[in-house]
Subunit: 464 residues, 2 copies
Amino acid sequence: MLAALEATVGGANVLTADADVEPFVTDWRERYRGRARAVVRPGSTAEVASVVRTCAEHAVPVVPQGGNTGLCGGATPDASGDQIVLVLTRLNRVREIDTENATMTVEAGVPLAAVQSRAADAGLLFPLSLAAEGSCAIGGNLSTNAGGTAVLRYGNARDLVLGLEVVLADGRVWDGLRGLRKDNTGYDLKQLFLGSEGTLGVITAAVLKLFPRPQTSATAWVALADVAGAVRLLASMRQALGDRLTGFELISGDCVALAKVQFPSLPDPLPGHRWYALAQADDAAAHSPVASELETALADAIGAGIAEDAAIAQSQAQADDMWALREHIPEAQKRDGPNIKHDVSVPVSRIPAFLERAKAALDAAFPGVRYVVFGHLGDGNLHYNLSTPPGSPAAEFIGQTGRANRIVYDLVAESGGSFSAEHGIGQMKRDELARYKPGIEIELMRRIKRALDPEGMLNPGKVV
Amino acid sequence: MLAALEATVGGANVLTADADVEPFVTDWRERYRGRARAVVRPGSTAEVASVVRTCAEHAVPVVPQGGNTGLCGGATPDASGDQIVLVLTRLNRVREIDTENATMTVEAGVPLAAVQSRAADAGLLFPLSLAAEGSCAIGGNLSTNAGGTAVLRYGNARDLVLGLEVVLADGRVWDGLRGLRKDNTGYDLKQLFLGSEGTLGVITAAVLKLFPRPQTSATAWVALADVAGAVRLLASMRQALGDRLTGFELISGDCVALAKVQFPSLPDPLPGHRWYALAQADDAAAHSPVASELETALADAIGAGIAEDAAIAQSQAQADDMWALREHIPEAQKRDGPNIKHDVSVPVSRIPAFLERAKAALDAAFPGVRYVVFGHLGDGNLHYNLSTPPGSPAAEFIGQTGRANRIVYDLVAESGGSFSAEHGIGQMKRDELARYKPGIEIELMRRIKRALDPEGMLNPGKVV
């Protein structure tokens, strides 16, 4: 079989030596370490199809992988050494940019940052934006239905796709590369492959939606007494700014303090408050009053007692500093020591009650536990992280991850929420899936899996 | 079986007399006339489940129906008299409005206009809007992935849904009524039921997204020399207005003339041009400069030679008049006589070339044929309709519908377009589906159908 694969993709693109294989069988967080029969790097859709067909003929499972930046081990092979890792980064062409149709056809291996910059070069915007954008591949973003900081306005990755090209489990190619905003000719098959983490097909290319490029921006850092105030502020700012409100991040005062300890040069625009919101407004118009509109909306909110104080960035540098404060929180927490992370969502209206109940339950279970809570409030998505209580051995705390997860996820479920808002399932959260999903939903997923991959050749052991 | 159904929903809600059944076995356009064993009107999700289970036990197929306003016969039973029509209009409760989460949970039978007005009562917007909104049911809108006039900004019906409740083919209920904007816990099952026209499950309720309510609007009627100019105007206005541009309709001068003949009291804001665009801009902000922004954008377009002239509505009455002119085109065409209709989409950038080629081919095939071309240019969606050549017998022209369809749909396919942009497949366009869809795509649809409805109990003979 390896000879057939080498004949397809060239010997240099079939890796089998341990040192060559190593970077592809370990996930980015280094939580999972698998083995692989080989790492195969096809250079075209036809080569992907041939590789998948060859593997199917030999009953060898395939693990698709993009930039290998996933957070749930979804692109890491299992320990058997039987699987092939199918790396898509050589499919890195932008096939077409159609400015009048506002679409871009890209191959799966194009890095997200390259998609963004090619769109900008064409005078348009591809809005998906997330921390790994320099190294993640667009195919992985689509396979995992990536989220990020602009979902409030533009939706998740799923919402940014008009068409897909997919290699099916038997190696045939489905060419669904349509650039249409309306097409009601039968089932919307692309939805099956978006977000299914490579378990139903291998995405090789996509037609992406592009948007008018923002030409005016305004950024504000807002101080709040509590999370209920943040929810009210979000509603009032959405009404005041409409779709110009593109980002609305919630950040606890504890997060700011932690970031300042680890990175003292970061700004602290409004010290001493319990909660903050970071609001971003953008406008496609070159001469837009968006900055004054943001200022008026915040003045109204302070006048109405919704917000305590607000600082509006007076320059792009100040705006960048505010975002840097937000974006340094994960790294600050990492430097601070081991921690337990959750990527949850609940309906926006239920976030204040959820946070109150979770704190009460966790304070009781883990006295002194420290909360690192931030996230995309506009999407109801919280990164709800717990750091080791001062004076406690970190290993002991981390050893209780399962117990902490149970407390958090049970309350999330009671609040009508999700235990994985944007990171997916991979291999990490399959047990949670089994626990929290209704049986009927798991059954439906399995029926879909059997319908599209009856032999279980695509990314087995992931999702469902 | 009828006794069991009567026991479930009450005798008054199982209709079998011809006169009672008649309105439910004929489609809105009166192109299809079926027969039914009975028309059953359950009043709750539990009753729907019970009816579907009973029918499954007796191997009796079920045809779900909402407001019965579909345009492709998707809700009309076949001629066998074996099928049950399952009418969902008694499921008409708004279960919840959550203003902070900007969501609304509605049952399938709520009329679209009622969804809109309940959202407005709560100070928010449900943006789906289409001609049948007074009588269509939201469940039908979701089952057919309805489009309409605000897709440019808000997307199709599919994009407006966060969660679904669905009765499966065996009568079990899947409760997927989640109100989350981010939830990556496995396959996005709701996508299967949205747009599948009742062939995979019966939608009984949904969680809908709500949006900030527009408080400022501006409407303009723009004269254009050609369609290429309309495409350029669309791009420049999207950049100038961003998401404030919520509608952008293309209308031929011939459409305006036809409407004026049939409805002389309609306005004619800029007589004598070959093409027109109707542009609508909305802003959530109460004191928005959107009207002056629209005016500036149009002045720039005229200055750049993109547009020939423009009239901006100076009052809501004038704006309503402009929209009335657009909305009277279908009725004017109907009064004018028999015609052949197409609901197509092609990439926006390819619309000018498509129109040119289609006109050349149809002029040759049907000398003197009259074109009634209008549609949602922002979505690439054209209602491309043909009226009888003057002096020709209408019956003879209509008898050549198949030949006209072939010319139009072949060119649509060559242009990367869709032969059914927003109306769906139903029973009317199944032959076109078989002709224009790649075999692999039809095979995938059938596999999904078998996975979710293995006995073929749900709306057989529709879609695939």
